[in-house]
């Protein structure tokens, strides 16, 4: 029973590609056969996050136009032989592919892989329509900001209109300290507004940037709290919904005192 999950957000820059790469790594580490598909034709980046940019020969558009076989375009991960990338074309645009073609491609991938993750481009136009065409489920990525949540709400509506059942939410770039002092929306605030099930809270952490610099997704890093947060999202997506969220950065002494005195909006751990 293979499954295609589209990772989408509406707004750009909230962490779709990072989430796609890290979920791919996490699922592959669990022993699943995983293909991650970069659907951002013209602005590909998933290859860079995975550190595979030097290995691209063929891309998604080549496969769709019949210039190569699917197997030729799939790039195996450096460390995990269960993880493969199907890169986007860089010199074409979104109109090079139709939703129908995308659907056929995903069907082919599902014959080979347990999980097919589609990294959706920002926006609600053709790139988005192509990305959801073959998907069975949707993962919505947002950050605790007004603009990102507004766009997430719009995308949730579009995903539901496309009859993708029950989109699930990942909250990215979460900062416990800001939440503690009442300067960031907490998970419950976001869930109250978006009203979809939560499958992950990813702390805002410099490890993500360091991993991106090196082209090694943070989910490989056993020591990293962000890596662990992504690994737990993968577990929640694969039948362990009760896995707890990672402990966020420990609050400082004064935060604890203030919380004890009831002066802070903090509600304790996440």
């Amino acid at each position: 029973m293979s499954e295609c999950i589209v990772i989408t957000s509406g707004k750009g820059g909230v962490g779709k590609t990072t989430t796609s790469a890290n979920l791919g790594v996490s699922l592959a580490r669990m022993g699943h056969k995983v293909a991650v598909v970069d659907a951002d034709i013209g602005l590909r980046n998933l290859d860079v996050i995975l550190g595979l940019e030097n290995r691209i020969v063929y891309d998604l558009v080549h496969v769709i136009e019949g210039e190569c076989r699917l197997k030729q375009a799939l790039i195996r991960d450096k460390k995990l032989d269960t993880l493969h990338l199907l890169p986007a074309a860089q010199t074409r645009d979104k109109s090079s592919v139709t939703p129908e073609q995308m659907k056929n491609l995903i069907e082919q991938l599902k014959e080979e892989f347990d999980y097919v993750l589609v990294d959706c481009p920002a926006g609600i136009e053709q790139g988005f329509r192509n990305s959801i065409a073959g998907a069975d489920k949707a993962l919505i990525v947002t950050t605790p900001e007004v603009s990102a949540i507004r766009d997430a709400d719009r995308i949730i509506g579009l995903v539901e209109a496309a009859e993708l059942p029950e989109p699930r939410l990942v909250i990215n770039r979460f900062r416990q300290k800001m939440v503690d002092r009442g300067d960031m929306l907490d998970k419950d605030d976001i869930l109250e507004i978006l009203a979809i099930p939560l499958v992950g809270i990813i702390p805002d952490h410099e490890d993500v940037i360091i991993s991106a610099n090196r082209g090694q997704p943070v989910a490989y890093n056993e020591e990293s709290v962000v890596g662990e947060a992504y690994r737990r999202v993968a577990r929640r997506l694969t039948g362990e919904p009760e896995v707890p969220y990672v402990a966020m950065e420990p609050s400082g002494f004064w935060d604890s005192v203030k919380r004890w005195m009831g002066l802070s909006a903090a509600t304790g751990g996440v």
């Binding site: 949540i149 709400d153 719009r154 009442g182 300067d183 507004i193 978006l194």
Partner: protein, 87 residues
């Protein structure tokens, strides 16, 4: 300590602003009515209700709200006298 001091003086964090703005924003994204249209709808509804019961028009609360992803029109109309007047 900065936040302790600001709390003493009753300053709240920016989160509440974010939440309030978001709620309003999402309602208006979903309903696509201009504030003027909303005001016109309110005036008409109030007028209809006033034909049947005596109400305090000044205190009528009439707004679009969101809960659990659904938009609802929520209104509170204080009634002065329940006896129906002639239409």
């Amino acid at each position: 300590m900065v936040s302790f001091v600001s709390k003493l003086f009753g300053n709240k964090g920016s989160k509440d602003d974010a939440k309030a703005r978001l709620k309003l924003l999402l309602v208006h994204d979903a309903v696509d009515l201009t504030p003027a249209q909303l005001e016109a709808m309110k005036a008409e509804v109030v007028e209809v209700i006033a034909r049947y019961v005596e109400i305090n028009k000044e205190a009528v609360d009439f707004k679009l709200e969101r809960a659990d992803g659904e938009v609802a029109l929520v209104s509170n109309v204080p009634v002065r006298r329940v006896t129906a007047r002639a239409v």
